[in-house]
Subunit: 263 residues, 2 copies
């Protein structure tokens, strides 16, 4: 299995740094191929902007989505964006590893998504066989990355209780919905449940061993693990306004309505 490991932590001598090294060694031992995007080590520039399109005429107003499409299709994106896209198109599985900062990704990783997930690659595709002015969009389970898998590896000092279904921070799975569903599933990836390490404030050797054992198991199963059962946009559950058809949600509310009901 070919794995792209995208890693966003500023300190190599951290829990995240140790887990990253452990994961890459585990995958290699199992015969996998890996590529690493260590965003801090690469000094990744996270600010999507005019520098992403070096050949664009700067005297005209920039509409980022349109500029992204034109540069993607004409092969004139900045070189570092193209390099990351090549890694994404090479891999079978992408893992995004990060500490949860303010209930989301560190900015450097958000800026990797903002810039690398270009128009024409990760969004903006339409299916000509659907009716309408420009066709129904290929997203949420469809798209270029269909057939590839994605997983988040997230650490946080927050406790199980504070990040659970009644916890004050909001359920961690709901907090990750904008990433798992809004970025990865949107772009077509099959998303497997995140590997979570909660309560990271004081991790002793015994617990660290438990974490690495659990991580090893998850990594070795990643190609066949049951995915999060998000609904596909274009498989009949959503109407022409992209609203869930009446009754399909069962007893669910909130983001939960976008999960297929399990028997």
């Amino acid at each position: 299995v070919k794995v792209l490991w995208v890693y966003a932590h500023p300190e190599p001598r951290s829990l995240n740094g140790s887990l990253k090294t452990f994961a890459l060694e585990t995958l290699a031992r199992a015969g996998g191929e890996t590529q690493l995007s260590d965003l801090y080590a690469m000094k990744w520039n996270g600010a999507a902007g005019p520098d992403d399109f070096p050949q664009r005429d700067r005297s005209s107003r920039m509409q980022y989505m349109a500029a992204s499409r034109e540069a993607y299709e004409s092969g004139t994106q900045s070189a570092e964006i193209e390099a990351e896209q090549k890694k994404l198109l090479w891999c079978d599985v992408v893992v995004l590893q990060f500490p949860l900062w303010w209930f989301s990704m560190p900015a450097i990783l958000k800026g990797w998504v903002d810039r690398v997930f270009a128009n024409g690659l990760a969004y903006g595709l339409t299916d000509a066989k659907w009716p309408g002015r420009s066709g129904r969009p290929l997203r949420y389970g469809d798209g270029v990355f269909q057939g590839r898998r994605a997983m988040l590896l997230v650490t946080t000092a927050g406790s199980e209780s504070a990040m659970g279904s009644r916890g004050i921070s909001g359920n961690i799975h709901d907090l990750l919905f904008p990433i798992n569903h809004g970025i990865l599933w949107y772009a077509g990836f099959t998303v497997v449940p995140p590997f979570l390490v909660l309560g990271t404030r004081d991790i002793r050797p015994e617990r660290y061993n438990e974490i690495t054992q659990a991580l090893e198991k998850r990594l070795l199963e990643i190609a066949r693990a049951d995915p999060i059962p998000y609904r596909k946009q274009n498989a009949g559950d959503y109407d022409d306004g992209f609203e869930l058809k009446p009754g399909l949600e069962g007893d669910s509310q909130g983001f939960g309505i976008h999960l297929r009901q399990m028997k």
Copy 2:
């Protein structure tokens, strides 16, 4: 009223650029004082890391939260972080204006939060009067920013239906919960409902006029508008594990349980 306007868009000749200019003029006409943090114009560095603490010994392992606390308390943070914190402590109201990118903030704005919301200012505070090893944390309605207000101004190409309560992207208010509740309310701000501009793909002059009229109204009322009724952490609704006490949620699920029930 003193307003800090934090603005994250790479193109001045955009809808966002026009709305930013309109808002600052409107506030000034009404006798308000404003400061602007135009993050792209400032070339804001979004990557929280060792450069935030120029006097720290780099040979030792950096734990970001601990380093942030030490630098905040000793007045040794990087100058650009300190300058933004001064603006936050000056203002009565902070507005974060941004286009919704991948269902969240652009990286440059996330990196403003990651770096400016320091330990000792926006988190890490405890109330000695609560029992327990280190006191109950002052957050979610308590903290340094208590008494100040915050609002998001968000634009998105997404439609009302796709971003509504049954829309495939998830309800826009739930998508903004990690920001409104997890960042602003966490740090103590009173959060008023966001000013949303949906369906931005093709805005004609007539609609632009409607938008600016509505925005003017919201800005002139911002100091007395009803806030989002988030529950305070330390007012009795949450137990010692920070879980909502049984029964308080009524019929709500998901993030909705953290809103006080209205009569």
